[in-house]
Assembly symmetry: C2
Homo-oligomer: 327 residues x 2
DNA sequence: CTGAAAGCGCTTACAG
DNA sequence: CTGAAAGCGCTTACAG
């Protein structure tokens, strides 16, 4: 049913190598061009991808490894990657690892075996196993959201994010502050974001911050927040992500603590939902979809053999809203 | 660098057809099995997917067409599909169409060209062009979230969802009601969900409902809600999705209308966020990830030639929370 | 500009 | 149980 290049060649009365040349933009005479074009149109011929890949030993596919699918950050990033890839005739293949690091490693090898042209890796943590995989496969890999000296990477300016938030909180007059962070294994969020914040606090002099650690889940954040409010009576709680901040708000509500009058709350991310809720959440906006686009763009350029910055940093943007009050 | 089946055959001292047979579970003598196994282990041999697919003319890939990536429903559904597929050694390929119908059609043909074994289609609207594409490609297609007599489908019980919500609203004493729905082109949400609701209202006798239409975007829902509150002073607004309900809440907050005391609000979907906000949103929970799993399961069975129900309906579940008050 | 031939890495009858 | 051969649908030097 599906025509092959031989069929087309025969129908057009030329050799299949000629058809192939035509297909790949090689030079053919005006005359044969027309003949071939007509037949291809007529039979709606499309080349078999496998046969092409088998010869070429590569594909127009970029693999993307994501830790989870149900997160605002991931969705937006994927949308950006997909758009940029699509407009450059690349395809995006997604491997979801459900936060399972072994699956992350497996995904890298799987992609290699499928001969993807490049891999964009959204990993929370970069281990030796990751590095080894990347080296073994010999395919361009771009780390997105984290950085590592041995890898090409594109990151959001987490230090700036933390710092701006810190400055803002201090300027609003808060002195008793709680910062609910995440594991240091996630360097971007767990370390850089927090360190930026700490730097601003250090400049304050009279500010007092207590640090807690929780996971990325809203539900766990509510539990941590409960503990915080038992220990402590801060005027301000900063969550290392919007989800954490949302969890804090939830806990405040259930304890009848009014936001922002009795407690100010802020987060990081700039998720859409943060401006829909009441009070609207003060946050630092990350440009996820732009990051995705840029990542795809770098990857394409790298594949084409063009020089690409080893490390790119994207600016972030503080968005003051209703959830932080003057103190 | 990468070994081929010929290399392995040579190293093991057998013919490549023997290696192939071994690889595909054909019978080989204990002796050769050991030899081959050793070499494969030693060189970490993995068969080339393209060569396999070129011969087999098919793959272990299921294509999934989604209208958007940044929606709770889509994410959860994809997670379900992915899990089920993975545990059956299938891979999921995602095509995001950004709500562009032409891209939906294109995606179907693209998938066919890549010889996916099946396609799971999450479309809001099924047109003649969709049906034609499905017939032309001759690959199993499963419609998820919508139904159509000419296609295999798996749907949530939208009628039940609407009906239960209607009953609940009536039972809570509401008589002046606004229902903000979506286009009828989306039969599941635009028609069935609303009709279930209408049925419950009709049983009420003394209830008055005004219908409005908006899009799936939260931001547009806020605008529609603004219009609603200008026209009308309902005691209850039901949004056809949680996002719409969230938009309504946003508008109520900005107009200093207290929920639920002055206005009750409810939605459909059961998004995670609905229980984090304050007041927590009354909604009907849809089992998206289970739907994804089931869809993948049906697809796999259909590919295996097993008989599969033409149409499957998943139950939904009303979750009363704080956003609806007695009237 | 054009065509015959070899080859990409696998699988599948077919003999033995 | 095992192997030689043909073929899947393309591309790529190489001649002409």
């Amino acid at each position: 049913m599906n025509k092959t290049i031989s069929d087309i060649a025969q129908l057009a009365g030329v050799a299949k190598s000629t058809v192939s040349r035509f297909l790949n933009g090689g030079s053919v005479s005006e005359d044969t061009r027309q003949k071939i074009e007509r037949i291809i149109k007529q039979y709606n011929y499309v080349p078999n991808t496998f046969a092409q890949s088998l010869k070429a030993k590569k594909t127009s596919i970029i693999g993307t490894v994501v830790p989870r699918l149900d997160s605002f950050a991931t969705s937006q990033t994927l949308i950006g990657i997909d758009e940029e890839l699509r407009s450059n005739h690349y395809q995006m293949l997604i491997a979801n690892t459900s936060q399972d690091m072994q699956r992350e490693i497996d995904a890298i090898y799987d992609f290699a075996r499928q001969k993807v042209s490049g891999i964009i890796l959204l990993a929370a943590e970069v281990t030796e196993a990751h590095l080894r995989a990347v080296e073994e496969i010999g395919i361009p890999v771009l780390l997105l959201g984290q950085q590592h000296e041995r890898l090409h990477s594109l990151v959001h300016n987490d230090d700036q994010a933390g710092y701006e938030m810190g400055r803002y909180v201090v300027a609003k007059g808060h002195r008793q502050i709680v910062y609910i962070g995440v594991t240091e294994k996630d360097q971007a969020v767990g370390i850089h974001r927090r360190q930026g914040f700490q730097r601003a606090i250090a400049e304050c002099g009279e500010c007092d911050v207590t640090y807690y650690e929780t996971s990325f889940k809203m539900s766990e954040a509510t539990v941590t927040a409960e503990a915080v409010l038992n220990d402590n009576r801060p005027t301000m709680i900063v969550g290392a992500t919007d989800n954490i901040a949302l969890g804090v708000m939830k806990t405040a509500f259930s304890n009848r603590i009014r936001i922002p009058h009795e407690l100010s709350v802020a987060g990081f991310g700039g998720y859409d939902i943060t401006e829909m809720i009441h009070p609207a959440l003060t946050t630092v906006k990350y440009h996820y979809s732009q990051a995705g686009k840029l990542a795809a763009n770098h990857m394409i350029r790298q594949i084409a053999g063009e020089p690409v910055e080893k490390r790119t940093v994207l600016d972030v943007e503080l968005i003051p809203r209703e959830s932080v009050d003057n103190q």
